[in-house]
Symmetry: C2
DNA sequence: ACATTGCAGATTGTTGACAATCTACATCGC
DNA sequence: GCGATGTAGATTGTCAACAATCTGCAATGT
């Protein structure tokens, strides 16, 4: 057994690199990079991803790129058509509607749970994020606002302690990103949305599960309504579930 | 445009094959086959999947198998360790607990929604599945019961018309399959569970959203409780969310 | 006897080449 | 001029070979 007193600092210093090399195959790296490009908007929705191009651009062979494509298809970011290529997925209004519906259900649970379990320190942390939102709103800095908004919801889900929920939630949020660049930016809805966030934290801090859940549910549904107001015919798309699906 | 009167029958007869060849690359086929083997229990949880073995066994090269692995990792059925191999995932009690919690939330939504939207024909269909369960219970045919149980819940989610919810739900159910062969089989809980199913359908048929949702929620939580009773220390695993997760 | 080191076999990661398929354009016939 | 047909280029699907890494066992030294 090596003496830990001899060179512990070096060991600890290099541990992250070791972990990095151990965990990341080229496929994983490529996957993350493409994911970043898609979510950042570098690769617009519907764009075609050509294996050879990406491979050359990233300095790897086609194999890892293909594997990354398979993984990305699983997370819903790309669509693969055999012998035709892979494309950045396009989310229709109807699909976005379904995702919002799902998010509302999950977020309601998050609110109820946090109202029961959140510690004062956690509430304080959430309030700080809301303050970031308020400052961004005052400056009319949409990017900063969106970033804080993402952090707020992601952090809340994280605080529930349900790792599986976090995975599912993030996937949904990612897919929602594919919907034409954030419906929120339009319409000056920032002040309204910010107020909703503050109320959510208040309910959680007060330890009121049902109101906290309701506030979060309604908050998501308000985003959904904004989307329907901005695009498309609200009614038809808002209730696609009325049609009985076949087996 | 070709005249559809000339050879429509042949065209229609071969259309499925054409679709099959068009949609399915080897990767997809391999993926589905491995998924089937895992869910059927041919590949036990924790088993190591060797690329070369599977490739030879399925008569393909290693490439498609590797791609299938990436996709399967995304759906949570396998775990990939770099330079070590891929393994059928093992679900811990804690993880199963989180999945049950999530399922309860989703199923509650399903119940509420169906109580609002289900047509008489759909209710009839659900009742038929419940009858299958009752017959299986009478014969003490566990396999038939589990199959009907799966159909029941899957069909209900399908009837909500939310395709995204269906995808998420199926993924969760699949992962739950990885948990040591179905906790339900033990303990003679079949009659209890069957009664719960009948009540769920009754609430839906009566158009009572809140009770229907509650019945489904409690039904899932009862399964979760059975799991905790069968395995492990109920308390510690039942409330993993009390511990504040770090960022 | 025990731990450490080195080696051989097996397995995974990556690459480049070949075959099959698709897309777009040019050519041909009407 | 317009549509159909054929062909060339590009792109994807699959495969087999090479390099890197890991695992288990044997040899070695203390």
């Amino acid at each position: 057994m090596p003496d830990p007193a001899h060179a512990p600092a070096r060991h600890d210093a290099h541990a992250p690199e070791i972990r990095l090399v151990q965990s990341s195959s080229l496929s994983t790296l490529v996957q993350r990079e493409i994911e970043r490009m898609i979510l950042a908007g570098d690769l617009p929705a519907g764009a075609k991803l050509t294996e050879a191009n990406l491979a050359e651009q990233l300095g790897v062979s086609r194999g890892p790129v293909r594997e990354a494509f398979r993984a990305l298809e699983g997370s819903g970011l790309v669509r693969i058509e055999k012998n035709r290529g892979v494309f950045v997925r396009q989310i229709s209004v109807g699909e976005a509607d379904q995702i919002y519906e799902l998010r509302a259900v999950l977020d309601e649970f998050v609110g109820r749970r946090l109202a029961d379990t959140a510690t004062p320190a956690q509430v304080r942390e959430l309030r700080q994020i809301v303050e970031r939102m308020e400052k961004a709103t005052a400056r009319n800095d949409v990017d900063a606002y969106l970033s804080a908004n993402l952090d707020f919801h992601d952090r809340m889900v994280e605080l529930t302690g349900n790792a599986k929920l976090l995975i599912v939630y993030r996937r949904l949020v990612n897919e929602l990103h594919l919907f034409r660049r954030t419906t929120l930016a339009q319409g000056g809805a920032l002040p309204v949305s910010t107020r909703e966030h503050r109320e959510i934290v208040d309910r959680i801090a007060a330890g009121q599960p049902a109101p906290a859940g309701r506030a979060l549910h309604d908050h998501v549904m308000a985003s959904r309504a904004r989307m329907h107001k901005t695009y498309g015919n609200g009614r038809a798309a808002a209730k696609p579930s009325r049609r009985a699906p076949d087996r």
